[in-house]
Symmetry: C2
Subunit: 163 residues, 2 copies
């Protein structure tokens, strides 16, 4: 995860170049997402935005999210109804995710083999793609290792009892 600071700075530059405004609300939402480094739901973002007596209603959050999505600064994870900061917003790209069912961690794929194969399939059928949603749920390498260890220990334990 890049430091939120750096991400915000990048976003500022990009917005200025494009002549769009990264307002306080929008920046705040982006900060929250970048700081979290994991998928965050709209209502959770809303809660994070209310510091003190400040009231923030759903439309405010959703508007900011819509803007950030349009600018490619964040992504929506459809299968989680949640949002994440984009790892590399500087060049437009596909958004493909590996989502760990165990720890909730989300990795953004950089590989474009998937993208290419999808492109060729759609082209063949005369379909004009606009937006792609590619999300793979499963167990991340780290959790898989952990589970493997746990299984081994369990086996050892049982063997010990039997012996």
């Amino acid at each position: 995860m890049t430091a939120p600071r750096a991400e915000i700075a990048r976003a500022e530059v990009m917005c200025r170049e494009r002549g769009v405004r990264l307002t306080d609300q929008r920046r705040r939402v982006l900060e929250i997402l970048c700081a979290a480094g994991r998928p965050v739901g709209a209502y959770e973002i809303m809660d994070a935005m209310r510091e003190g007596p400040r009231v923030v209603a759903p439309p405010t959050v959703y508007r900011a999210l819509e803007f950030l999505l349009e600018q490619g600064l964040i992504h929506k994870i459809e299968s989680l109804h949640a949002f994440v900061g984009c790892d590399h917003p500087e060049h437009p790209h596909s958004s493909e995710f590996l989502i760990c069912l165990e720890c909730g961690d989300v990795a953004e794929l950089k590989d474009d083999a998937v993208e290419r194969s999808l492109a060729s399939v759609t082209r063949e059928s005369g379909f004009l793609p606009r937006r792609r949603v590619v999300e793979v749920m499963g167990i991340c390498a780290r959790c898989a290792r952990k589970e493997e260890c746990a299984r081994k220990e369990e086996a050892d334990r049982v063997r010990g009892l039997v012996d």
Copy 2:
């Protein structure tokens, strides 16, 4: 779209073979989805199920949907919060969809190049996939042709006015 009848018959056989029960409610939901031939939301299904004074509550629908998903008889389209009957439930498969933003039509991809490239990417990173969500939104071939025609006619019209 296969005739709903045929789909239901297939489902009956599959469930019997697996020793699970395709109950009335479950069959009804499957029928509705197959007959629609397009993505249908849970609440729309619920409405379709209430014929006459019959009351059907959300959990009933969701339970039936859960069962049908488990059995691979239907798919969920995450980006639409809707469900569709599966085109070829007889063999387990990936579910990849082309969703037309214009006419709402959904095509289930049969190609497995996408599947393979996704599999290789995940394998490399040690990720163990469980469920894949691949949904491409865009304009289907038919709507693209229609738009093309409309554009041409418009151009002709304008030329006519200018000449």
